[in-house]
């Protein structure tokens, strides 16, 4: 992966700027000249990441979004190629306009780092990479964690340490703006910004300390694989089998889920058409079914376990990291309020 981020100390020129609240919109307008801006906007009582046609739509006070910003890198629906009547394959253009995900939270930045591993290791995925290479991350440290957030337990928030091009922290009267990459530095140069005063770093820590006190959920990660492996056969799984609706929502909103299904769509001439993929979910019955109808995870509890074990046990050997970033979306979206943090505390006998 060619996207390079560096810790601040590796850069010699000033890396800290003050972005006054009044300058946010002008800054966004400047960025819009060269980039598609994608940021959190209001949708009903929720927030979603969407292209900003007007900087005024940006809602940086959001806590979480329905879908993670993953959706602009690994699209919910994506055409892989089309095929013509003579069976010639026409690849979908993989060019991509430069885009900025503006206001992405630390948990989601960490999730993208995990997707980077899944999609750029062995057999790199050209569709993901084309978008990823052209995507800059202007992150926003969390000052108001939501009721389902537990990133603090996983070290993925509320403060972001790296993996960003620019990093904002809301200091009340404006933002502390930190530069995290050469591409981020180019972004800052579109504005005439004053360096941040030294005290800004102290204020930042105050904001983050305040945020840290507000977490309502936590997930104890100590010896997580051990705890889960010991408890593969435990009554709690049967209980969850009766609870879970197997609707798939938890995985559809997960920022680190990468599974997809492939479907060919043929035209009415029955010759030409396209092959497309869309997000899939291990929670769905058909996911592990093979040609003759045998299903390797027919029972709902096996699927509930697959989700939780994959996130908390299997990602580590696969990608060298936990598969959960504590964004809380799976808890929020669950009609039955099945809560991964609660499952783990119960397994621990807490």
């Amino acid at each position: 992966m060619s996207v390079a981020y560096a810790r601040q100390e590796e850069w010699s020129i000033p890396q800290l700027y003050h972005l006054p609240a009044a300058k946010l919109d002008p800054f966004l307008n400047k960025l819009k000249e060269n980039y598609t801006l994608i940021g959190p906007v209001v949708k009903g009582k929720e927030f979603v990441f969407a292209p900003l046609s007007d900087p005024g739509e940006l809602s940086l006070h959001y806590q979480t979004t329905l879908l993670p910003p993953k959706k602009v890198l690994h699209l919910p629906f994506e055409v892989l190629f089309s095929f013509h009547e003579d069976q010639q394959i026409i690849e979908t253009a993989q060019e991509q306009q430069q885009q900025i995900i503006f206001g992405i939270h630390p948990c989601d930045v960490h999730a993208i780092a995990i997707l980077d591993k899944a999609y750029t290791a062995e057999y790199p995925d050209p569709y993901y990479i084309a978008k990823r290479r052209n995507t800059l991350l202007v992150a926003l440290n969390c000052s108001e964690p939501g009721e389902n957030c537990f990133c603090q337990s996983l070290g993925t928030g509320p403060e972001l340490k790296d993996g960003y091009d620019l990093l904002l922290t809301d200091l009340g009267n404006g933002y502390l703006l930190e530069v995290g990459s050469p591409r981020g530095r180019e972004l800052v140069q579109v504005m005439d910004l004053a360096p941040a005063p030294r005290v800004a770093m102290v204020e930042k820590q105050k904001v983050l300390d305040n945020a840290r006190r507000k977490f309502q959920k936590k997930l104890n990660t100590q010896d997580l694989p051990g705890i889960l492996e010991e408890n593969f056969r435990q009554p709690i799984w049967e209980e969850l089998m009766h609870e879970c609706l197997a609707c798939g929502s938890c995985t559809m909103v997960c920022p680190t889920c990468f599974c997809y299904n492939v479907v060919d769509k043929i035209d009415l001439n029955l010759k030409s058409g396209k092959r497309q993929r869309e997000w899939d979910s291990c929670m769905l019955l058909e996911y592990a079914q093979v040609a003759l109808g045998h299903n390797f995870r027919k029972d709902r509890d096996a699927r509930v376990k697959q989700r939780i074990y994959h996130k908390l046990v299997y990602y580590e050997p696969q990608f060298g990291t936990l598969g959960c970033v504590g964004c809380g979306r799976c808890i929020h979206t669950c009609v039955k309020k099945i809560d991964i943090t609660d499952v783990i505390s119960r397994l621990r006998g807490e």
Partner: protein
């Protein structure tokens, strides 16, 4: 940038009907460069595309020494394979691969080889047999136990004589003999052949492929006969949409069957929390 999801066009060169529901197809890539570069190891698979119908993982069933024309033995059970049954020599399909690790013929210091197959499970093992014949002096005792539902459903019967002449011991069994069928061999499941086999655990690698229920009995029987989980290799079937560790469907624990398998040492499967080869002794 290289697109691992884009199939290469391949032409059907030849079609051999094996049984009522199983056919062997010979393919060759249209593009000369692709055709020349294509290599595979026994036990690897390709993703076979029929444009507009879909894609399916199919193991390669021919001799790795002849990669310019390769074969897939296909049972017509899903959309792709059923549609394939209607195609003719000269028709075009899409193929990408090969994928997976394959049988550890070159990885292990194998002296004796015991191959146990059920039904279409012989297809991914046939390249092993072909390679063993080509490299016969490197191996000691090689024994094949093969079972099918009926005598008519035994795959590759025309080759059995050549296998035997190469010093491979071949034991056959069928589940049932329909009336009017001539069959003087064994009737019963493949594990019934254990009583007749001469393979012993010492310095033997076991390769097995077939329905999971069959493999679970095979493993159980072998363990009872003193074989170790480390010397038993199984080839697993899982749902696959990509073949390249992306779509996620084939995962068992941290393993991607498409990349870490489809061939696994049974000992490796024992480390997984999910039970594989249902019911086998753990």
């Amino acid at each position: 940038m290289f697109n691992p999801f884009k199939p290469e066009r391949a032409i059907i060169k030849d079609i051999i009907k094996e049984t009522t529901d199983t056919t062997t197809y010979t393919f060759s890539f249209l593009d000369e460069g692709v055709r020349r570069e294509f290599r595979f190891r026994p036990g690897q698979f390709n993703m076979l595309t029929i444009f507009g119908i879909g894609e399916a993982p199919i193991s390669i069933s021919s001799n790795p020494a002849e990669p310019e024309t390769f074969q897939h033995t296909v049972r017509h059970v899903g959309n792709v394979t059923k549609f394939l049954s209607k195609m003719q020599p000269g028709d075009i399909v899409g193929i990408r691969g090969p994928y997976g690790t394959g049988w550890p013929l070159d990885v292990l210091p194998i002296k004796n080889l015991l191959i146990i197959a059920g039904g279409i499970g012989l297809a991914p093992l046939r390249p092993v047999i072909h390679e063993v014949i080509d490299r016969r002096p490197e191996f000691g005792q090689v024994e094949v136990l093969y079972g099918a539902r009926t005598p008519a459903e035994l795959l590759y019967p025309a080759e059995y004589e050549a296998w035997r002449q190469a010093g491979i011991s071949l034991l056959l069994t069928v589940d049932a003999v329909p009336s009017g069928t001539a069959w003087e061999g064994q009737v019963g499941v493949v594990t019934d052949l254990f009583r007749q086999m001469s393979s012993r655990p010492g310095e033997t690698a076991v390769f097995t492929c077939g329905p999971e229920i069959m493999m679970s009995y095979v493993v159980k029987g072998l363990l009872a006969r003193g074989f170790k989980p480390e010397q038993i290799y199984v080839s697993l079937e899982r749902r696959m949409n990509c073949g390249v560790k992306k779509c996620g469907k084939c995962q068992i624990g941290p393993k991607f069957v498409c990349r870490d398998g489809p061939v696994f040492a049974y000992a490796e499967l024992l480390t997984l929390p999910e039970e594989v080869l249902g019911g086998a002794v753990r």
